[in-house]
Symmetry: C2
Subunit: 336 residues, 2 copies
DNA sequence: TTGTAGGCGTTATCAA
DNA sequence: TTGATAACGCCTACAA
């Protein structure tokens, strides 16, 4: 059995209150009794029980992480960023894998709440109304990492998706393309659908190119639908394509090849996310990179501020993204 | 403030004992009172406090994960496997990133112990004596995932590293090579050094090829040292090389090219671990794959058995590995 | 079947 | 400066 504060008290011939005091430096204790207590702690091999302590002080120094899939690209980096900062501030982390499924998310949030976590960092492409409601209800600080909710109710850390998409399209324009197609995310996805499409539109409008709805085809981030989308775009004779995910970009390239054209010779393609697919695929795919580690680190830092009730200058942090140029826009392969 | 069991009791006009009973189905309660309690729970929005419960029952249904780097290849898959099974058995997971540093490992183990985790799953290339001692001292079930300790004191799940290395070398032999070099891990590393070298020796001996110490050069899994090691092997005119890590294999290939030879035309190379490097590098590298997800899943399953004190048929599980053939042994690139 | 009360290991208030 | 003691929220004999 582990030694408790009582055992230490008995050993040091003081009250448990005194032991608690030296443990927390909470009040002045004579150097002599302090030493006695310290000796007793060593002798008994005492270790404080964090459960009891947390129960009393109503803080666990633990935060919950809701993540779609820790084994997919992007998230491990984010989590690493979170963990590094958490460790720096002596927080521990509950890892919860949800595959973005509503029931798993709801269930985990419930459990995290029961385990009295001090806060929750949520990750995921899109955040459902039900999940939002529940996150709201449990009444602890929430931070969205790499995503955001429509009403900006929760603090979050993310990139500017509209701007990212704008940059991608602008790059295609700079390469001389006039007829640029887009394979977007689901139109009802506020980020991958709406924002990225808006960035596309803005870049076009800035270049005084009239927006044609037929050049934006809805995708779902997956290969199959993107392949079909690309076939449609080919009917419209596009000379470049921006896809809202790397997987869709790869599928688009396949569709292009299967239709007898070539990338980058005939058509240029840009993807999104800089996943391993973007550099494994041949041709390697020009893409937008999100600063995963930083998103995690900044999210956790934001969380610590929330927990410490520090004043916060900005509840919605936008981190810079980056365009990574590769073969699919004719720039050739990077040397490593 | 959150409702407690007391509030529910008051609302349902019963004692807290009764509430606790319906919460845990621990004793027979009249259907009627049960319903009253259930209603009261709903009405008050009561959620059990897992801290208080754990303090009482001395179980947290939480396990700690010690992992070198969640953002490096291999580990995210392992952790995913662990999490899936943990979730299945209603366990939560503390994620602890250590970069394999002794002080971070020691510190996290201490904290996990204070937070009263029910068990710890340890990951890392090598497990230090001090860490071993501490893991032992805290007196809870430990499982080593993807590694092992010299004395097999702890239960573990891993591949057979000797056999893996044996398979790699045997494959090189089957390709007609006679003079096979090896770049091993540190000689004092029981796995990457000793076991993998032993597999190499065994394959040679089985092929009646005399073992020449000069053909085994010590590496440290990293590129730089492996590059120099390869230069030495070239002086000995090897026609194939087995490296104990993909990074070393890549460095070896670079050394070969820099010396005016070519892979796979002149020399064949095999790596270890199937990291992204092995398929990103050109030529792509033939390598040994460890079943990461399964290592995690089986480790966690083993842990649940340990925690439930179920009888365990095998404390040391060996999972099958796989040789993945790529360009560096002349097999050409795989189609995806 | 239900209620009372002690205890899990702390912290913190109030006296002494 | 130190010591009793009441919480924190729950479980569980033991009684009723």
């Amino acid at each position: 059995m582990n030694a408790t504060i009582k055992d230490v008290a008995r050993e040091a011939k003081v009250s448990i209150a005194t032991v608690s005091r030296v443990l927390n430096n909470s009040a002045v204790v004579t150097d002599e009794t302090k030493q006695r207590v310290l000796d007793a702690i060593k002798k008994t091999g005492y270790k404080p029980n964090a459960l009891a302590r947390s129960l009393k002080i109503q803080k666990t120094h633990t935060i919950g992480l809701i993540v779609p899939d820790i084994s997919s690209p992007f998230y491990p980096e984010v989590v690493r960023g979170i963990e590094d900062i958490a460790s720096m501030y002596s927080y521990n982390i509950f890892l919860c894998n949800t595959d973005q499924k509503e029931d798993k998310e709801m269930n985990y949030i419930e459990i995290l709440s029961e385990k009295q976590v001090d806060g929750i960092i949520y990750m995921g492409d899109i955040i459902r109304e039900s999940v939002k409601q529940q996150l709201h209800d449990i009444g602890i600080p929430i931070v969205l990492a790499g995503t955001e909710d429509a009403e900006s109710e929760f603090p979050n850390v993310n990139i500017d998706n509209k701007k990212a998409s704008y940059d991608a399209v602008k790059y295609l324009l700079s390469l001389g393309h006039k007829k640029i197609g887009m394979i977007s995310g689901p139109f009802d996805d506020p980020i991958g659908g709406v924002q990225r499409t808006n960035g596309y539109k803005e870049a076009l409008s800035e270049a005084k190119i009239r927006f044609k709805p037929s050049l934006v085809v809805e995708g779902n981030f997956k290969a199959r639908q993107a392949y079909l989308a690309m076939l449609k775009l080919l009917e419209n004779n596009v000379d470049a394509v921006f896809a809202a995910s790397d997987e869709m970009a790869a599928a688009a390239i396949n569709a292009i090849f299967d239709s007898g054209f070539s990338v980058p010779e005939d058509i240029h393609v840009i993807g999104f996310d800089n996943t391993y697919l973007s550099y494994m695929f041949r041709p390697t795919i020009t893409t937008i990179q999100r600063p995963a580690y930083d998103i995690g680190a900044v999210s956790m830092r934001l969380m610590t501020k929330l927990l410490a009730k520090e004043p916060i200058d900005d509840m919605h942090v936008i981190l810079p993204h980056q365009l990574i140029v590769r073969e699919s826009t004719g720039y050739g392969e990077e040397k490593k």
